[in-house]
């Protein structure tokens, strides 16, 4: 009985999962990955201490 997963006490976890998925989908729809890609495929001079 005690080991049963309590849907109510896991409500925040489930809500966060849904928010995370919604954000990710929205980010893909807004093509934000292109910014990530653009930054990641070029040497980031700031990151390595040059720029």
């Amino acid at each position: 009985m005690g080991k049963k997963v309590d849907i109510l006490s896991n409500g925040i976890t489930i809500l966060l999962l849904l928010i995370g998925m919604a954000f990710l989908i929205l980010g893909i729809w807004r093509e934000e990955y292109a910014i990530v890609m653009g930054k990641a495929i070029n040497i980031c001079l700031e990151c390595i201490g040059i720029g």
Binding site: M1, G2, K3, K4, V5, D6, S9, N10, I12, T13, L16, L17, I19, G20, M21, A22, F23, L24, I25, L26, G27, I28, R30, E32, Y33, I35, V36, M37, G38, K39, A40, I41, N42, I43, C44, E46, C47, I48, G49, I50, G51
Partner: protein, 291 residues
Amino acid sequence: MDKKVKKSERFRHFFQVLWAVITNSYLIGFVRGKIYQGKIKNVCVPGMNCYSCPGAVAACPIGALQATIGSYEYKFAFYVAGFMILVGTIMGRFVCGWLCPFGLIQDLLNKIPLPSKLKVHTFKGDKQLRWLKYVILLVFVILLPLYLTDMIGQGYPWFCKLICPVGTLEGGIPLVLLNEAMRATVGWLYAWKNIILVVTILLSIMIYRPFCKYICPLGAIYSLFNPVSILRYRVDSEKCVNCGACANVCKMGCNPVNNANSLECIRCGKCKAICPTSAIKIQLFKNKAEK
């Protein structure tokens, strides 16, 4: 009991090395002094792994977050925030303990033997200093890239630029060594970042994971999910004999009996391995018996 802890640590280090190799598998980059430019770089890795590391095959989430909120097109990073919320909700700071190459480096550095006087377990102000990572997250990762912009509204990745020793170690040093054009451009900023790296390395020998405890903004983000993450620890109060072994073995300064899912727990599993009554358990989702 000690054997059990050593065995669990060996397995964790094997997993950390395996993950570091997989996520930095563009080995030819280390020979040519260039970085991977393939399509996987659309995607972030869960841990701190500089995308300017010659071997990196994916993007650093903290770098990606600053790049997106600092761009003139977007002022909110749904893509990266969504990724972090998902990873954080699924496993919390398990990422720090198992999936972060810089965590692995600090783990290994801390194994270097020193006179016991120089090995610092805790100090006055340790607890207060843990809040610094949240300040760094807010100021250098969010506010400065968002508001300190140039004429076209483009912000800079201030955390990467001024603080992050990961970029210096994984990207700066190999690229400057391998690339002659880069060698010619190093200046005060490169020197500053190398000083931070050297201090981080020296402190890591004395203190367990100082970067994770006090500086890392990614650890700060994931820590907020620890109390609600799907993957979690539970202490069976009927089995627990309050011997204190779990609190003594924890190098992050947690006491699982008081809070099995504290903000600082990196799910390394040492407490679970040392528990004489096997009272500490890993579980998925919170169950009714949990306090």
